[in-house]
Symmetry: C2
């Protein structure tokens, strides 16, 4: 069994908490180290095992991630918990590998236009950089996996429409560069169920049994509709955050990540076991309210309740 | 062409505004007659043609519907606009028919348990009452159509699970009683895409080309995911409300109707023409803010924008 299949067992749909990175990256008020630990602990107790715990970025600009190493160590103190970190450059890759992170997420864009605007290089050069990340990983920490996140995979804020075949071509190039898995991200929430089905059906075929990541945003209300389409298309790893924490950097005031409580409910409702207790997740929202009191929290299951006779999948 | 097909042309997916009934039924502060007219006019200008404009209920208990006749007349002053009213008893049916409403919605429950608790009679007796409504219609106003709304069609707050075959059996009984169309309602928001697909695929077969109504709630966040499933299963008429106005009578504080702006966006995004302009709908939200300032408005497209290069279906 490959390392990625060990970290992502195929007996369930895996829903990852990305709030500790994506959810606080733009926040001015964010949880301190102890609050982060309580947050991780509460979701771990609810059954969540995968946490994007931060980013290896300059502390001067991103003080919210200054404690990223301590958070990795804390995550590793919980049996079976997996720590994922975002890295954007070679220095970050080296630091993340030395910090013993389980998974590094490197990113590039589906479109040439957005890759140039965001990373100031061609997609071809981004693939080269990803290849280099794999070499570094092999040298510094062969136990870490690398996930290549393809942003703008369902629509692009610069190019508009994105051809699913193009996303698959880039996913293939990332796999050829040696990454362990690939992610497709609806970075600006442009996707609808049609685009998500088209991309994820091809991704499921391309990865042929290996898990891949789907990162959806709810910017235009389609988050769960898109997640349902991805589940039907065979996707098994989803990103989400408690209360939908994290906005959209391209649309101030707009909704960001898919709400993890609602995402778990949707998956279980559709017959996919997650191993996660929804009511315990809902309880954990109060930790966010304490550490980020002015941050809007989203989600509908938190305002209602589980249906009568609701049964979790097993 | 039957009357129902004239009111619901098959060249588009029809999204109905139900806020003027479902959205204000529980509200203590509600729009006055002129505000209701401005609301209808704004959505009419955006392309909406179908309005549930109120209910024929005792004015002493439901003063928000005291102007229902004037609102019907106003709706009829707009070419092509259709006025739908909810009726709960024989007196209401007679009054609605005399008021020249285009469509009467009569309701019964999918489950014996809920029908007994809600209407204090058996489902068999409800079918008899529906048959009687058809007789009254034939006598008093043959130009009105009757829609039998089946509540709890995707899950029941008393019985829990609802068998799709049972919903179809009741839909067939309603059609046998002479109604023009049938609606399936997720009254308490218990349904997920699996239940909605199961019921709507059978409904599409049962109605064989005749349109039927899908009334979804977003109580547990699955509103648009369920709508996507219903669209794929062949449903062509959807209920929704501006800003998701209207809560859930069974879960205080919970989300109610599907947000009409987001619903139109979803349908267009999936390739189904609606004839409705999303940005004009978003503009109309301010009328609700004026007439019901304390009512929470939901929806995500209103907080973001249409995607770059977004194209409406035609």
């Amino acid at each position: 069994m490959s390392l990625v299949e060990t970290l992502y067992p195929n007996d369930r749909v895996i829903i990852r908490e990305v709030g500790l990175r994506d959810g606080i990256q733009m926040a001015e008020v964010y949880p301190d180290t102890e609050q982060k630990k309580r947050w991780i602990r509460a979701e771990y107790d609810a059954g969540v095992r995968h946490f994007e715990i931060g980013s290896f970025l300059p502390v001067s600009r991103f003080p919210q991630f200054a404690d990223v190493r301590e958070i990795i160590d804390f995550t590793h103190s919980l049996p079976g918990a997996v720590a994922v970190a975002l890295v954007l450059n070679e220095r970050g890759i080296e630091e993340a590998l030395k910090a013993n992170v389980d998974e590094l997420t490197v990113v590039m864009s589906a479109t040439e236009e957005h890759n140039q605007a965001n990373a100031r290089r061609s997609r071809k050069d981004s693939i080269k950089a990803i290849r280099h990340a794999v070499v570094l990983r092999d040298q510094l920490n062969p136990n870490a996996i690398i996930n290549a996140g393809i942003s703008m995979a369902f629509g692009c804020s610069i190019a508009g429409h994105v051809d699913p075949d193009e996303v698959i071509r880039i996913a293939q190039a990332c796999l050829d560069a040696g990454v362990d898995t690939v992610g497709v991200a609806d970075t600006v929430g442009y996707g609808g169920p049609t685009e998500v089905s088209a991309v994820c059906e091809r991704m499921t075929r391309l990865l042929s049994g290996r898990p891949y990541v789907v990162h959806l945003h709810n910017t235009r209300g389609t988050g769960l509709a898109n997640a349902a389409a991805a589940l039907k298309a065979g996707a098994t790893i989803f990103d989400a955050s408690l209360g939908g924490l994290g906005g959209c950097p391209f649309a101030p005031g707009a909704t960001g990540n898919v709400v993890i409580e609602d995402m778990v409910y949707l998956a279980e409702k559709m017959g996919f076991a997650t191993g996660i207790d929804i009511e315990q997740l809902v309880q954990a929202r109060k930790l966010i309210k304490e550490s980020m009191p002015d941050e809007p929290l989203y989600g509908d299951i938190a305002k209602s309740s589980l249906p009568k006779n609701f049964v979790y999948c097993s």
